[in-house]
């Protein structure tokens, strides 16, 4: 063999495995292969081994992966055994070298040492978006798993479009839209866009600002709030910013702000757009290197944000958003929620506002003297299925604990049955902390229905307001 021939042979023999691996990694992932992967993951859960489950992943997004593992760990509390049956829901699609599929998990949890005798096993459903890729050896490896609402995918082509909230976002190449579970998002609406195959993500959130702040004030407020939770967060710079789609002709009343943050090795940019008291927040985050290298991709995504109706009446726009997402509407001093069959009329002359947390709905009436009336609705936790007096009582205590309110042993009245099928009781809270003993009196009335826990919270700051509050609370009507 000549010298040239020898070198050619070495070259071919040396590069052939590399070419073969590259070709293997590009080979399309079949449905059956994903099914096989799901089976392996289900088996890991059956072995109560969340670590094995997590080790199967080559995470694109370490934060989302870590949270997913924490969620799964919660399934195994108190000796619970979990059997999970996962199936592919819908057709897989491909973005770059990743395959994305929606998965439906049917979960049976049993063996909890504290389970009631009449309910030894629980059945519930979880849906996730699963992202997989093929590694060099040809194996299918999961890279991202995020839980999504079970009531269908609210987006088309990764575009989040919400006419009631008056905006559209998404659709840039490579960005996957994952709607957030409403109970985990303290907002009217929320979603996360993941840049597939990287650690970059952008959260979208719509909320109502009860203080009517400017965009810059709101950005700073959110940044400071994040810093209170995560002490490595540093606020770098707050500047005015307008969405690219509206820079040429900014609609009257539209304003925006941009806040840079560093959080350990990660970097984030918080964008706030205000159009009236409705705030749209975009939170772009990722490792500092990814943020630097993918600037163009982030810009592409930001360029897709637009306000749909730039001539919308502000007050009407807010009412429309609340009606669409909570089912409630305020007319004068009256709140009416057709979705849950609730109505209540607050005192005359008090300021009334709807709020956008992660409960089903919340309305607050506030007197000039500082007295308040809150009406809130809480949906039953999915795994619980239905509220009962015991769980309602537990939940109220948790809410009070989080607010430094201490309920005494004899703080609550007896349960009362109602015609609507619900049961109610009232908790009387002693004045708390620094306010004691002259602080405002507080009474918390709860009405328990199967799918709704209604809480009417009265804070009596002035004695003159007590009767008015009593009348308002009695105006509560439940269908």
């Amino acid at each position: 063999m000549t010298r040239c021939g020898t070198w050619f042979t070495v070259l071919v023999v040396g590069t052939a495995p590399i070419c073969a691996q590259a070709s293997e990694a590009r080979r399309a992932i079949a449905r059956e292969e994903i099914r096989s992967l799901l089976q392996r993951l289900d088996e890991a859960l059956a072995h109560r081994d969340v670590r094995e489950y997590g080790a199967a992943f080559a995470p694109d997004h370490p934060g989302a992966h870590a949270i997913r593992m924490k969620q799964l760990e919660q399934l195994f509390v108190d000796g619970t055994r979990v059997t999970q049956e996962s199936t592919i829901a819908g057709d897989p699609r491909t973005v770059g070298d990743r395959t994305i599929v929606r998965v439906e998990h049917r979960i049976r949890a049993e063996g909890c040492k504290n389970a009631p005798a009449d309910k030894p096993a629980e059945h519930f459903r979880e849906d996730t978006i699963l992202v997989v890729r093929r590694d060099a050896a040809g194996n299918v490896v999961p890279t991202l798993e995020v839980e999504v609402p079970t009531d269908g995918h609210a987006t088309t082509n990764d575009v989040l479009r919400c006419p009631p909230c008056n905006y559209e976002f998404g659709g840039a190449p490579g960005w996957l839209c994952v709607p957030a579970l409403s109970e985990r998002a303290p907002a009217l609406e929320a979603a996360t866009f993941y840049f597939v195959g990287t650690d970059l993500a952008c959260d979208v959130s719509v909320q109502f600002d009860s203080k009517n702040r400017t965009a810059i004030e709101m950005a700073r407020h959110l940044g400071e709030s994040l810093r209170k939770r995560e002490n490595t967060a540093k606020l770098l710079d707050v500047t005015a910013w307008l969405p690219p789609a509206h820079r040429q002709e900014p609609p009257a009343g539209l304003e925006g702000a941009r806040l840079e943050l560093s959080i350990g090795a990660e970097q984030a940019v918080l964008f706030v757009v205000t159009f009236g008291a409705l705030h749209h927040t975009l939170f772009v985050r990722g490792l500092e290197t990814s943020m630097r290298q993918r600037t163009k991709n982030v810009q592409d995504l930001l360029a897709t944000y637009r306000v749909l109706d730039t001539n919308a009446d502000r007050a009407k726009a807010i009412a429309t958003a609340f009606l669409a997402h909570t089912g409630g509407v305020v007319t004068g001093q009256a709140y009416h929620n057709e979705r849950y069959g609730i109505s209540l009329t607050g005192p005359d002359g008090w300021q009334v506002q709807q709020r956008s947390g992660s409960s089903l709905f919340r309305v607050v009436w506030e007197s000039p003297r500082g007295s308040r009336l809150y009406l809130s609705g809480f949906g039953s936790p999915r795994r619980l299925g239905a509220w009962c007096p015991l769980s309602a009582d537990d939940w109220v205590h948790n809410l009070c604990d989080a607010n430094d309110l201490r309920l005494g042993e004899d703080a609550a009245t007896a349960w009362v049955e109602h015609k609507c099928g619900g049961r109610s009781r009232t908790y009387v809270c002693p004045p708390r902390g620094a306010d004691a003993p002259n602080g405002p009196q507080r009474e918390i009335f709860v009405l328990v229905q199967e799918d709704l826990l209604l809480v009417v919270d009265r804070i009596i700051a002035a004695a003159d307001d007590a009767d008015v509050l009593e009348r308002a609370a009695k105006s509560l009507h439940v269908r």
Binding site: G63, A64, A66, I67, K70, Q71, Q74, V77, D78, N114, A115, E122, F124, V146, A180, S182, E183, R184, P186, A190, T192, D203, S205, Q207, S210, G223, S225, L226, K228, R229, E230, T232, A233, I263, E266, F283, R355, G357, S358, S359, L360, R362, V364, R372, Y374, F378, P381, R383, C388, L390, D393, D394, W395, H397, N398, L399, A402, N403, E409, D457
Partner: protein, 224 residues
């Protein structure tokens, strides 16, 4: 003209041998010649004037002649030859310099003494030289080896090095797990809940229950 010119004897006047240069100052004065100081000064001045004239003539001649010469074109290998010559010269000078510092050949006594010493050390060592060397290393570096062994055991049987949690995971630890937003895959949820509490600290939290914590607490009979 050299002092020892062999033809000097043949060129003297009237057959008299011509004196050599070293003999001139020894020659007797010519008869009737009595040099004065003025004569000597005049002779010296005359010589000096002649030198000045010669220098001036040479200077004038060069000033007139040099411009008439054209600058010669260097040959094609002029640069290479020059550089080569410089390098060669440099090399030779380094060679000469280093040669002066070259180590002397070890003497036969030195070699014999060293071999004898090595043989003596080998006979008293418990192992052969290589093992002895390893033993010395082990004796001196045992703390390092112990640390390394401990690290390997920790890797094998412990949890291994802990990965630093992403900040989303750290936020889970900061939240009460009864609330669903504690398991949100974004830090924005945490920021919004803190902002909400700051805006209305009197209100009960506007947060939803987590799906797993509450059933567990309820199943155990709740807090009361």
């Amino acid at each position: 003209m050299n002092d020892r010119d062999e033809n000097d004897a043949a060129i003297g006047p009237s057959g008299t041998p011509f004196p050599g240069e070293h003999e001139w100052l020894e020659l007797p004065m010519p008869p009737g010649f009595a040099p004065t100081a003025e004569f000597a000064d005049a002779a010296m001045q005359s010589c000096h004037d002649e030198e000045l004239i010669a220098d001036r003539d040479l200077e004038n001649a060069l000033r007139d002649a040099l411009p008439t010469f054209a600058l010669p074109t260097p040959s094609s290998d002029f640069v290479a030859r020059t550089v080569g010559a410089i390098a060669s010269d440099e090399s030779r000078r380094w060679h000469d310099l280093l040669a002066r510092h070259s180590a002397p050949e070890p003497s036969p006594e030195f070699v014999a003494r060293t071999i004898a010493a090595l043989a003596d050390e080998r006979s008293t060592a418990p192992f052969d030289t290589a093992v002895g060397f390893s033993a010395r290393i082990l004796r001196r570096a045992w703390p390092l080896f112990a640390i390394a062994a401990g690290f390997v055991l920790w890797l094998l049987f412990g949890d291994g090095p802990r990965q630093i949690d992403p900040f989303e995971a750290r936020l889970v630890h900061a939240e009460r797990r009864v609330f669903a937003h504690a398991f949100a895959p974004t830090a924005l949820a945490a920021a919004l809940t803190v902002a909400e509490r700051d805006d209305d600290p009197l209100a009960l939290p506007d947060w939803a229950p987590d799906r797993t914590w509450l059933p567990r607490r309820t199943a155990s009979g709740g807090p009361r």
